[in-house]
Each structure stands twice: as C-alpha cells, then as structure tokens.
Subunit: 434 residues, 2 copies
C-alpha cells in the first residue's frame, strides 16, 4: 500500500520518543498499519540543539510552515506544549487539510471546543490518546470498547508526577520538597511543576475524559480542584495510621443524574487497588452499567509510554480508524446530557489537619465551628508532641475525619476556621474515598 507521510512538530521528550521508534522499528509499525509510515518532515524551534535521535538533516526544519505547506503530508503529529502557538499551528494544519495527532491536554482542555468543531467542519480528525494517562488506552475505551455502556463513574490517578511524589514520601519517608526534587532529577517533573502538583494537569485530563465518557464539557473552574502541594509527610503518616494511602484522585461520576467532578488529594483505603498504584503509574477505574467495573493502569508519562500512545494514534490514522471514530465522539458541544453538579453540593467525607498553636482551646474552637456548619466529626487524632509540656507555643497537629458534608458547608466552615488565632496556618483538607 502507499506509504503514509507524516510531519512532526516538536522533537522534545515525546517527539524524540516517537521519532526513535518510527526510525528504529519501521517494520512493526508497517505490519500493524499495513503500509509504511514515513517521517517526512520534523519542525523544531532550535535546529542547532543536540538530539538523542538520529534523523537525516534534510528532514529537520525550524519553520513549522514547512510542515503545514507540504502537500504530501496527510497526518501531522503536533508535540509542542502550551496553548497559544499550539492552537494557531493546529488550526493552520487543519485548514491545510491535515489530520492531527497531539498529546497536548492543556490545549485540548482550553480550546477543544473550537479545535474539535473546526476539524469536523473541515472533515478532518484529531487523535489525542497520548493526552491522558500515557500508556493507558483510555480514550480508545470511551470511543469504542465501552460503546454499549452508560458510564456511571470514572476515577483515576491521572498525574504521574504527583503520584511519584506521594509514593516517595510514603515509601521513603521523604518530605514533599525532597520528593519533588527527586522527581525533577529523574525528569518526571518539569522545572516549573506547578500545574502537576496543584491539580490543574489532572483536572484538564478529567475535563477531556468526562466529555468522552459523559458527553459533558466542563471547565476546570466548574469543579473543585486541589493538589498535593500543601501536604506534609505528617498527613501521609496520619492517613497511614488510619489505614489509608493518599492519592491525587480525579473523579467524575453520576449522582442523581448530575455529574459530580473533583480533583483532590484523597484518602484511599489501603486494601483497594487504587492505593497500590505506585510511582509514575496512572490508573483509571471506569464503571459502566453493562460492563460493571473495569480497571486500566500503566505509566502515565515519560518519553516512551507517551510515545506508545502517539504511535497508536498514528497507526489508527494510517489504517483509517481515527477518521471514522472522531466524528462519533462526544466532542461537539451541541449534545445535552448531564449538568455538572454545583460545587457547593458535592458530598464527601473529609480529612482535615490543623496546625494548632494553643492546644487547650483549639479543639473546642474547631469543633464549635464545624458544629455550627452542621459538619459532624467521625474521629479526632491529636498526638502528643515532645515539646508540648515545656513550650506552650509549639505547633501541634490536630487531625479530624468528618462524616459526609457538602463542599459548601466545608468551604464556609474553612473560611471561619482559617480566621482562628490559635491556628498557625490554613487548614489542610483532603477527601476520603468511599
């Protein structure tokens, strides 16, 4: 069969991995695609940069336009980050008649409506398996394998950096800062890891998955999102004492026909598979009304696992599957399925940590405020601190587990709690998975 000529934009972590496999193993790709796949052109920013993949000099260019303008290129693989230039480039590629493969969840979360709609108008397709949970074929699952189901819930660990940090802290008794540094040394966390550790990256992925699974296009601002950046080793130890692991969990599930969504550090019972997901692994648990519970896990980020997902999309494009699937996905706004549960109404059990300065009164103050907001307490843990008796100003952590309360109750209580003079710092809050 005629070769598929592809153009690539970006030859960084992910692009480098894709180029490596395409050039080192053309045979296996051809076997699955039943046609050769040829890397025709690769655009980068800096032509002089040393790369760890060997490509013929003549296929490299620093002009993205060379890819856009090449009439022989049918499929463009866009592997640059950001949402500004990346958006413009994708629009230009679509306008030039190319189908596009991308791993950029930030772009699709922010500009997905525009890009997906534009692609459909132009009869083009966008494939984005690599944008969520790297090695896990979760986009494909929603597009095809679970087609007979009404999905009722999905929950997952979608940010490998956060999970790596939490695993390092829990297993190796490291502080948050030590674990983050280790993640950066190993190349798991970016120089600026803010979006990974504050929950934004997981929330962007949840937006994409919720659209595919429930036909609901939510914005990150529409649901609670918090990250692991305020947690301490003490929180993990307290959770462990209570029989839980802490995971950054992204959840979307139907509750009384409304879609409840949130991203939060969450206490997960030790004996559940989700508690066992280690290091940079991601996992997604999906429940459908026909299939029941299903579970997927694999490495969520990193050069090769992400490249594996990009290669799957390239092969799907070469075979023609992506072009058939894309118009059948719930990506085109117009559909009305479920509304997003208002943030204030979301019910959860909560874990709270307070850094108390003044032990005798503080517990009464806290329970008084929680009580006034009708938040009932399931348990309180307050450890003896070694210096307590000698020094009244030492900080003593107080841990509280609540019964179910709404996010609204909790936020109102929190606002008051954080005014307490007897607390050294704002209260730390996690959800408790049920």
């Amino acid at each position: 069969m005629t070769p598929l000529k592809i153009g690539m934009i970006g030859l960084g972590t992910v692009g480098g991995g894709v180029a490596k496999i395409l050039t080192q193993h053309p045979d296996r790709i051809e076997r699955r695609a039943q046609r050769p796949i040829v890397l025709q052109r690769v655009a980068v920013r800096d032509l002089t940069k040393k790369r760890d993949v060997d490509l013929p000099a003549e296929i490299l260019t620093d002009r993205v336009q060379d890819v856009i303008d090449d009439p022989e290129i049918d499929v463009a693989v866009q592997l640059i980050g950001g949402t500004g230039q990346a958006r413009e480039i994708m629009l230009a590629l679509l306008a030039a008649g190319k189908d596009v493969v991308t791993a950029n969840k930030a772009l699709l979360c922010e500009h997905g409506d525009e890009l997906f709609t534009r692609a459909r108008e132009l009869g083009r397709s966008i494939a984005f398996e690599a944008s969520v949970a790297g090695g896990i074929p979760i986009i494909a699952a929603f597009g095809s394998a679970l087609a007979g189901n009404q999905i009722t819930s999905l929950s997952g660990i979608l940010n490998g950096t956060s999970n790596f940090i939490l695993t390092e802290m829990a297993d190796k008794n490291q502080t948050y800062e030590q674990a983050l540094r280790r993640a950066q040394e190993l190349g798991y966390a970016e120089a600026d890891p803010a979006m990974d550790v504050d929950g934004t990256d997981a929330a962007q992925k949840l937006v994409l998955l919720s659209q595919l699974a429930f036909g609901v296009r939510a914005a990150v601002a529409e649901f609670p999102c918090s990250g692991i950046d305020t947690l301490t080793l003490e929180d993990l130890k307290c959770a462990a004492d209570l029989g839980y692991m802490v995971k950054l969990l992204a959840v979307a599930r139907l509750v009384d026909n409304l879609l409840e969504m949130h991203v939060s550090p969450t206490l997960v019972r030790n004996n559940l598979p989700m508690a066992d997901v280690q290091g940079v692994f991601n996992a997604v648990k999906v429940t459908g009304d026909v299939v029941g519970e299903t579970w997927f896990s694999g490495q969520g980020a990193g050069q090769l696992p992400t490249a594996s997902a990009v290669l799957a999309d390239i092969v799907d494009m070469a075979v023609g599957r992506s072009q058939l699937t894309f118009p059948t996905l719930d990506l085109f706004g117009g559909r009305t399925t479920f509304s997003v549960q208002p943030t204030d109404k979301i019910l959860s059990k909560f874990y709270l940590r307070f850094n108390a300065l003044d032990r005798p009164h503080v517990l009464a103050d806290i329970t008084d405020i929680l009580g006034r907001h009708e938040i009932s307490i399931a348990s309180v843990v307050q450890h003896e601190s070694p210096e307590v008796e000698s020094n009244n100003n030492s900080v003593v952590p107080v841990f509280i587990m609540t019964h179910r309360a709404t996010e609204g109750q909790m936020r109102a209580a929190e606002a008051e709690l954080n005014q307490l003079k007897s607390l050294q710092s704002p209260c730390i809050r996690m959800r408790v998975a049920e």
Copy 2:
C-alpha cells in the same frame, strides 16, 4: 445514516444480554455508531423456550438459514457454543457476505486458521472481543493501542470460573467441591465445568491472545496446561503461609526469542496486583518494549460484561472500524515470528505437594528422586498431623518449593515420584511466579 441491520444466532446467556441492551438502549448505541442498529432476525434452537428478553415474535426463527439468507443483514452476531455446527454456520455466514461477531473462543482456537483465512479471502471480517476476558478490551489493545510495541510478555487470569472458585476457597475456607457448587448455583460455572477448571478454556484464550500479541499460532497441545481441579484447601493454605495466593495464570512471554507459553495454577506473591484479582474478575498484564507494563482488569464472564464486549464489536462494525482492523491483525498464518519454546525447556520454580503415607522414609525418597533429576529444593514444609503418632497409615502432606527447574526435569521426576509406594496419590504441582 442508514441503519445497520444485524442478525443474531443464539439468544442464551450472552445473546440475551446483547438483545436486552440493543432493545432497551437503542439511543446510546446509535449515538456511538452514528447510525441506528436494528435487530432484524434472531435464530434460536427452541422457539417455545421462555426468554427474559422481550422480542417481537416475528423476528425470532428456529432456522439459522433465515439469517444466512437475509440479504439485508450485513452483520451476523453468532452467539452459540461448540465447534461443529458453529463452524459450519460461520462459514455459511461469511460465504453469504456477512461480517461476523462472535464470543466463541473454542471455535476460534480450533478453527481460527480456516475461518480467519476464509473471511479474508471473501473480504469479510470477524470480530471477537468477547471471546477473551469479557469486559476487558484486550483484543482491541493488541489490534491498535499497543501497535507501536513489541509485546514481550502477557500474563493473566483468563478464566472467571476458576478464579471464583479459588477466591471462595481462600476467603471462605471452602473445599474445592463446595466452591464449585457455589459457582454453579450462581451461574458462573456450566453444568459441565470441565473446560473451565482443567485449564482448557484459559489455554484457548491464551492461544488467541498469543497470536494477536506475538504473531504466533500455537495449539493448546504445544504448551503445558493444567487446571485447578486437583487443588485442595490445604494447598491454598500452605501457599498463604508462604505469602502467596494461588491463581490460574496463563502466560506467554519471550525468553531468548522463543515464546514460552503455559497455563497453570500458580503461586503469586500476596503483594502483587495479580493476587488481588477476586471472584469472576479477569486481569491481563501486558508488557511492551515501548509502553512498559500495562494492566487491564474487569469481569471476565457473565451475561452483561460479555454483552458489553459484543456491543463494542457491533458498534465497531457499524462504524467500519472492524473491517479496517481485521486484515491488519496477525491472524493469517503466513507470518513467521517466534517459535514456541519446547515444553521440556520451560524453566520455573515449582510448588509440589505429596500425600505421604509413610513419613519416616518418604522425604528421603522424594528428595533422592528430585536430586537425581537435578532439581534443587528451596524449602520443605511438613506439618505434624494429629493422628500421626497413633496411626502409621495416616496421610501427611509434604510441601516442597523447588529452585528453577525445567518442565522436562520436573516431568521426568514426577513420573518416578508417582511410582512411590509411600505416596497415596499423584503429586500436585504448581508454578511459582517470579
């Protein structure tokens, strides 16, 4: 778009589930398929049988030929068991120009070469997601999601009945017979459960997966296959004491460029996810050289999980994906990839149980035979039996864990061991996962 008219053959456990969802939720199927899917004709054996799905009487028929001859039916969903009639019907459907969806692994394992080749010659497709691991989209994973990978190993729990029985025994302290009866009461095990519990069903599924993953068409007879039907509660308890769960594991992996395959009750370390797979759940761990380790789990059998997989295939057919994918799968014999590792050469650690009649000599006899076959012993467990002192003829179990030995050494030793007068019954052997 024009509706897809389908014909179904078989309206039993699986067929009944598929018909239910198609008739109760036509909207969701149409949404994913982007065209209505119409159940045009359903063939059964006995028209008078009461069914728990309500279909218009006029679409039911007891003549399979009515489906074969209907020119409006493009896709046939064949959900009958067996390998005789089922083969003939499938050949007739293909010859009549229909694409076929099936869940019949026995048929595809035994006659796959003929059926797949015939389908390709006729320009037709066969989809069979439901034939392996019900709710887990593992066929799709090999066909598309893992396309960029050389798969290096796959291992899984592929028989839900066996896993249910093992879980009942381990968790509820049930004997094999009690657990099997419970599985039958709950409808997990057939009236004749032989193929489930002797490993054949898992082996048939392994044959299909190995073909897709490695391009190797093996016959069940080419690799060691044993089941759970000889295990006792004592074996599970001994394994538990040593820190293991017993699982019926199907394995195919590349070792020095040969494909090692086996199905065996296997000791799996307690802390591994595979040990945590409960009840009728199946799980598959797949390692690829690009993606690394990935993991899938879900219910492996039962009406609805299996129907979910069949529905995915029907939607893939309606969209046209199956027709594109089928010719790209490694199903057509001609390809030479890896050879199957000869059975005698397969290396494993083993667990052995002996029912010793005559304690003083038996251990010396056993270790002598193992020693002569150069099988070295890692540990021996021999529990005091209450009656031992009073009765020389009581049966005392002896458990031995070996270091790595080949299947050939083990089989030769076993033949001699089973001649020992001091043993009451043949030795029980399991693999130990490494």
